[in-house]
């Protein structure tokens, strides 16, 4: 079996996405989400229901009286933050692992993913583009292919590194040379196996070549691409690949990403990432026995 086939098979057989997250992503992608339905879905998942209640009752949300039902909690937090909380939990569970092949310390891929999702949203706001839930989700999931390659297949990144740096190829191009597949394609296969298709999957698939994305997914692929480059620039959750990527000039032109925008997005992203880290810590501490 070729390396490419082994990788694809691993991605397809990876542990399934928790049903709650799959259903929430489905609801949001169909633009059909309403508080009742989301609350109903969350109420069936004890860990997430507990987190949503904890967040709704936290000092930051300052409820006037204690919130005891999941529906009240979702209403207090808002659909958007509720979904983000659940999705961050999914990524934290998977991306909290060390990704040895990419020289990523435990938690580094989570840091990158969380920051990239925030940056995708901030960039959309700064450039007046569509800050849809799909953009956030694609931003969050863009590098999950690295988890498959680096953690589950444990590819040796040394030859990839060598091809990338000695032949002046971008890192994902070097992945294709050495492995016959890159982390963007692997990520899309993983999402497919999780039942996540459409714009989110296509944006992840083409996040390094947004101009090749199907027309419908192209605007989000561009945002995800640029946001990923910005987060990478600051080295947030960075690994052996460093800054060895080629930003797409056409995507950056289309989005009118100027240096000022890059700095603004970085400032906003790092500060929101810090709040998210605190929230994650609080939620995990309060659930400890």
């Amino acid at each position: 079996m070729s390396t490419r086939d082994t990788i694809i098979q691993t991605a397809e057989r990876l542990e399934a996405l928790p049903p709650l997250a799959a259903e929430l992503i489905g609801l949001l992608q169909s633009h059909d989400a309403d508080v009742n339905r989301v609350a109903e879905v969350i109420a069936h998942d004890p860990a997430n229901a507990a987190n949503v209640l904890k967040l709704a009752n936290s000092a930051a949300m300052a409820p006037r009286s204690p919130i005891t039902s999941v529906k009240q909690a979702v209403m207090r937090i808002g659909l958007k933050r509720t979904t983000e909380l659940v999705l961050h939990g999914v990524v934290a569970k998977h991306a909290g692992k060390p990704v040895l092949g990419y020289d990523l310390a435990p938690g580094a891929l989570w840091e990158f993913s969380a920051a990239a999702a925030i940056a995708t949203e901030k960039l959309a706001q700064a450039t007046g583009d569509d800050a849809s839930p799909e953009a956030f989700t694609a931003g969050l999931f863009q590098d999950l292919g690295k988890l498959v390659l680096g953690h589950f297949v444990r590819v040796d990144s040394a030859p990839i590194h060598k091809v990338a740096f000695s032949q002046n190829r971008s890192f994902e191009e070097a992945e294709r040379v050495v492995l016959g597949i890159d982390h963007a394609e692997v990520g899309a296969i993983l999402l497919d196996s999780w039942g996540i298709g459409g714009t989110v999957r296509d944006a992840v698939r083409w996040h390094h070549e947004p101009e090749s994305a199907p027309e419908q997914a192209r605007p989000i692929a561009r945002l995800v691409h640029a946001a990923g480059q910005i987060v990478n620039l600051a080295g947030i959750g960075g690994g052996a690949d460093g800054l060895h990527y080629k930003p797409s000039a056409s995507a950056l032109n289309e989005l009118q990403v100027r240096p000022k925008v890059v700095e603004q997005v970085l400032l906003e992203t790092t500060s929101q990432l810090e709040s998210l880290r605190e929230l994650t810590r609080e939620l995990s501490e309060s659930s400890a026995p």
């Binding site: 620039l233 080295g235 460093g242 890059v262 970085l266």
Partner: protein, 159 residues
């Protein structure tokens, strides 16, 4: 021997010969170390953006976020701990940029330029540096003797 990690937008000053200060994943950010071998005082900073005028409020709360306010803060702290300006050894790492970015992501270059300007104003020279390019860098300073190393992709270089 203890390891003190300096996160992004953070700094630390030390006089403890048992310590090694380390900062990981320098991309376009700049890492700077200062060391006075006679006083045994040193410090390290990891700055993200070049100038504090981008967000003066944030700069007040977190000077290490910006190269201009951050470096001055680091300098003042090492001097306050007994270092002398004339003996300070300055080393720099980071300031990278993605491939073919055609000036769109110039943060690294600007971080380095701002730092050089402040160093020049203070009559400080750079004794060793590893800046620019696309590789990720980890920077360390050993407080025993001020040895600074930069590691990237398994290679370790002494500055």
């Amino acid at each position: 021997m203890s390891l003190v990690t300096i996160g992004m937008c953070e700094m630390a000053v030390s006089t403890d010969t048992e310590q090694t200060l380390v900062t990981y994943s320098l991309g376009s950010c700049v890492g700077v170390t200062l060391f006075d071998p006679e006083a045994g005082v040193g410090g390290m900073i990891h700055c993200m953006l070049p100038v504090s005028k981008t967000d003066p409020e944030k700069a007040k709360a977190r000077p290490a976020m910006f190269t201009d306010t951050g470096f001055v803060e680091l300098l003042n702290e090492v001097l306050a701990k007994g270092a002398q300006m004339s003996r300070l050894v300055v080393k720099v790492a980071g300031g990278g940029a993605p491939m073919d970015s055609a000036g769109r992501f110039k943060i690294g270059e600007r971080n380095y330029a701002v730092l050089r300007k402040i160093l020049w104003k203070n009559n400080l020279l750079i004794a060793g540096e590893d800046v620019g390019g696309t590789k990720p860098r980890t920077m360390r300073i050993q407080m025993t003797d001020g040895t600074v190393t930069v590691s990237s992709g398994g290679e370790v270089t002494e500055l």
